[in-house]
């Protein structure tokens, strides 16, 4: 008989998203924390620094003079073999773009928390997914959270994933600025020794690092054929990360008793005819609408994309097979397609399916506006008319139309 481990909880606290993220940092014990405070993640930096001031966390703190330097400190420390943490948002992410690309290209397992925010201009210190979708091709792994407990848990999984010897890629832990960073929820705090044990498999991993005994150079000024080889290996690691996240999450569930579905969360999709696809905090509103529609006998479900990069194409195709229509609710804009980013990617992903499933796109929550139940109701109605083959609009801006 298999031994069943009962998940144990050190204490239950009421934390906002920033504090939960900071507590995750505390549990993962990075060697270096390099942050420039930026709304809406400022309290996270304050909390981490407080942990260091109290002697709870033995990490080197860097008050960098700009985000690009902040991430460059992480690159240096990570290349020397250290575990690093950085947090930012929006304009900060834009300012560190050059270092952002190098972190992934050099295969350095930096973990970055992103309290996602709208990109300027128009100027607005407001919530959105625009910042992390803009850098989606930077080669990082991007995991999007829906709740406060999920932020803490994802931080722990992120270090395990990033430092895995088969992956060695930086990870973004994204959570909606304001909607999650300042949302206060019940959070179960795991024991420190349980997290230590969970991270043990990657603690002793021998990855290439800068040291005097065996001097290495990174990034190597590359001759052409090697450039292609390293790009290929990077792409391969991205592909491997999909299954790796599932494995890590399974193990996480055994130890801590919680799971978020791995790459995607399927909510009441089994017999659903219409599936809404979403990412991040607004998924909660969609789940509420799905519940109320289910009570009326409508077969509606929702899929939450948790792993945005690499894109969980295989699992999505499997989950969307045989559905009559798909509605994608995006909190971002893909310029050039005039849709949301997920809309465009879902359309590409379902090309693998034999049937032609109509996809409708919805843009909601831009500029920190609320993705309300009324908006989601309209989105489901439009998706239903697509399922019935009635004429409908492909992209709807729910704030405006």
């Amino acid at each position: 008989m298999a031994i069943r481990i009962t998940p144990r909880v050190e204490q239950v606290r009421v934390f906002d998203g920033n504090r939960a993220c900071a507590y995750g940092v505390l549990l993962c014990k990075p060697d270096l924390v390099s942050c420039v405070p930026i709304t809406p993640m400022t309290p996270m930096v304050e909390a981490v620094w407080q942990y260091v001031a109290n002697g709870q966390l033995n990490a080197e703190l860097v008050a960098a003079d700009g985000e690009i330097n902040a991430l460059s400190y992480c690159i240096g420390a990570s290349a020397a073999g250290g575990r690093t943490f950085i947090g930012t948002a929006s304009q900060g992410l834009g300012y560190m773009y050059e270092a952002y690309l190098k972190t992934a290209g050099n295969r350095l397992p930096v973990v970055m928390a992103l309290a996602t925010r709208e990109n300027a201009a128009p100027d607005g210190v407001v919530s959105s997914h625009q910042d992390f979708v803009t850098v989606r091709d930077g080669g990082w792994i991007q995991i999007v959270c829906e709740g406060v407990q999920e932020i803490l848990d994802t931080m722990i999984m992120a270090y395990r994933l990033a430092e895995d010897p088969e992956i060695l890629l930086p990870v973004n832990v994204c959570f909606d600025g304001y909607y999650l960073s300042y949302l206060t929820e019940r959070v179960e705090l795991p024991y420190e020794e349980d997290v230590d044990a969970f991270l043990t498999p990657v603690a002793g991993v021998d990855r290439p690092k800068l040291c005097l005994e065996d001097p290495l150079t990174v990034p190597t000024n590359t001759r052409e054929e090697l450039f292609a080889e390293w790009r290929y290996k990077h792409a391969l690691a991205q592909q491997k990360a999909k299954q790796k996240l599932e494995d890590i999450e399974k193990e996480f569930q055994e130890v801590f008793g919680r799971s978020y579905g791995g790459q995607i969360e399927e909510y009441r999709t089994g017999d659903a005819e219409i599936v809404m696809v979403s990412m991040g905090s607004q998924t909660g509103a969609i789940k509420d609408v799905v519940d109320s529609r289910r009570e009326r006998g409508e077969k509606v479900g929702v899929i939450k994309i948790r792993l945005f990069r690499p894109f969980p194409r295989e699992r999505l195709t499997k989950a969307l097979q045989g559905k009559k229509a798909i509605g994608v609710v995006d909190r971002n804009v893909c310029f050039g397609w005039q849709s949301g980013v997920t809309f465009m990617e879902i359309r590409s992903a379902i090309q693998d399916l034999p049937e032609r499933i109509p996809v409708t796109g919805f843009i909601a929550g831009i500029g920190g506006t609320d993705c309300s139940l009324e908006m989601v109701e309209r989105a489901v109605d439009i998706t239903r008319s697509a399922a019935e083959g009635k004429p409908h609009q492909e992209i709807t801006w729910l704030n405006l139309e």
């Binding site: 050099n106 290439p208 290495l216 150079t217 990174v218 390293w230």
Partner: protein, 91 residues
């Protein structure tokens, strides 16, 4: 079948052939000449050299001409005036 040439997952390589094998200073116009009897082995030239070409020889210092670009900083900073810059002859 993909053939790999690098043993590393990313753009990492041993620094030894890159840093210690290729001479990188054959375009130098002037070179430092170290007078080792004057040299006090203070290490200022060792610390100041922008390319790290000064070698510690236990009782004195000397430039490794494979890497020295001839900037003259060591000669300028040497407190014992043990270093003089001389023009490289035309090759």
């Amino acid at each position: 079948m993909v053939q790999y040439r690098s043993e590393y997952e990313g753009p990492w390589a041993s620094a030894k052939p890159v840093l210690f094998a290729y001479p990188t200073a054959d375009w130098r116009a002037t070179r430092p000449v170290f007078n080792i009897t004057k040299c006090g082995h203070c290490g200022i030239c060792y610390l100041q050299c922008p390319v790290g070409s000064v070698k510690d020889m236990d009782t004195y210092c000397e430039a490794d001409l494979s890497y020295c670009k001839g900037c003259g900083l060591c000669a300028r900073e040497c407190p014992n005036d043990a270093i003089t810059m001389v023009r490289e002859e035309a090759r």
